[in-house]
Amino acid sequence: MTVDLAFWVFGLGAVTTGWRVFRTASMVRATFLLLASFLNVGAIILLLGGAYLGVALLFMMTVEMAVMAIFMVAFMMNPAGLNPMTMVHQPRLAAAAGWVAFVAGAVMAGRGNFPERPLPGGRPVIADLGAELMGRSMLIFETAGVALVATMIGAVVLSSRRSRFGDEAGDEGSLPPALDPDTGSYPPGVIPEGVGSGHDHHGGHG
């Protein structure tokens, strides 16, 4: 009974916060509403008996959303939504796709034939998970882990201005795009004055 009540609370919480993500003008609030939605889903996984997976989901989503909030504030020109701005792209297409997905999911949930095979309580869930990770699935997880680390390090090296050739070398051979696309790019070897000062252009100012 308590579990059912908790499920409904977390389920409604996840859907409501997910909906609010699109109705708020503040990007930081949108990020943390998304986090709240994920936290509710993590709680539902805990209710399903996934002790480790649920808590790990909570952990990882928190760090991801914190980093996303930082990037929102760094790169968006209006992160708090204090200036009115349309916050959504292609709203009609997105709404149509959302309705299609909802109907499909509802049909599957309502008409699907789910098996009734409750597992006995008291299973050592975490030990089982550990045995799986370190046993049959070790190759998959180790490969994925190493690939992720390599990607992270590679991304940092490539995006840093120092690049992998040392200071200043990251700029070698690269030209900024031409300011006016009608006049075309600069001739080879010509670096125009004022490279790197992005004070003027950038979006929609009359």
Partner: protein
């Protein structure tokens, strides 16, 4: 295994433990500071945190221009709640902890991660520059020490073969983790100082940004924030006592008394670090965390792994 507290009593117990813990942190911090400043604190020291709290309660809460009101109200409450969630997994005796969950270590890590969110929200919500700057640099440092904390805690879980805190304490019956994993406790102290923004890692509430995320907080919201920081430090002290200093193991006194003694000892260590070490600049700390501390965390994990192979 262990007795869990009744679910309705759990929040009250956690709040009670943290109220005592936060007050202890405040008193010890004042005592160590007074000794270092060579001022004569006197008996009035014991009531001084209550007096400073009364000053804050008498102040009105100030409002900035166009703040994010929901986040401003939520963030001190969230931070305090995280300290409460964190302290629920700490075992106080062989048979008692508020919530001895199977994934105790990972739940603690989740609370630590959400601290970053709470700090950022606190700095963001007042729509002011100094708090936002402080929150920003704190997130950079926070993401850096978070991995470190997980390595150190998992290394402590290896001899116990379980993520459950009570098993981890029981595995220290013969030898404390501070002896067989010497790198663990110093690295965990770094994480504790960061999560409570204390002393050398006071990047979120630092004096060089006019008080950081708390710069625009006064009155009751300011008081709740200060209390939550002290409570978080107390929770970390209790956790390090349980995971590294043998928890409730000890000769003559009962289990909870030993936990209290060890927690107070850790609070003193953390407080001394706060008074004796200058704030580390954010960029240097991030570099240092990834280049020095994280490899040390790997080494700690390797030592624990090798130890368990025997």
């Amino acid at each position: 295994m262990s007795n869990h507290a009744d679910i309705w009593a759990a929040p009250l117990l956690a709040a009670g433990i943290l109220a005592v813990g936060a007050y202890t942190v405040a008193v010890i911090h004042l005592a160590v500071g007074g000794w270092l400043a060579q001022a004569r604190p006197g008996v009035g020291l014991l009531l001084q945190p209550a007096r400073s709290a009364a000053v804050l309660m008498a102040q009105p809460a100030t409002a900035t221009e166009r703040p994010d009101r929901a986040m401003a109200a939520l963030s001190p409450a969230l931070y305090a709640a995280l300290a409460a969630v964190a302290v629920t997994v700490v075992p106080w005796s062989r048979s008692f902890s508020i919530a001895d969950v199977e994934t105790g270590i990972v739940l603690w890590g989740t609370a630590e991660a959400l601290v970053i969110v709470a700090m950022f929200l606190h700095g963001w919500s007042s729509n002011s520059h100094q708090p936002l700057l402080a929150a920003y640099r704190f997130v950079a440092a926070g993401v850096s020490y978070l991995l470190l904390s997980m390595f150190v805690l998992i290394a402590a879980a290896i001899p116990a073969e379980s993520l459950q805190l009570s098993r981890i304490v029981e595995s220290q019956a013969g030898l404390w983790n501070v002896v067989r994993q010497p790198l663990g406790l110093p690295l965990f102290v770094v994480v504790a100082l960061g999560s409570a923004t204390w002393g050398p890692l006071d990047l979120a509430d630092g004096s060089d940004v006019s008080g950081g995320t708390a710069a625009e907080a006064s009155g009751i919201p300011g008081l709740v924030w200060m209390w939550a920081r002290a409570a978080m430090l107390a929770a970390f002290a209790a956790m390090s006592a349980a995971v590294f200093l043998g928890g409730w193991h000890g000769p003559v006194l009962p289990g909870p008394a030993w936990m209290a003694v060890k927690t107070v000892a850790m609070i003193t260590v953390l407080s001394a670090a706060g008074h004796l070490l200058a704030r580390v600049p954010a960029e240097r700390f991030v570099t240092w965390a990834w280049v020095v501390l994280l490899p040390l965390g790997f080494a700690d994990l390797a030592i624990a792994g090798l130890g368990s192979l025997r």
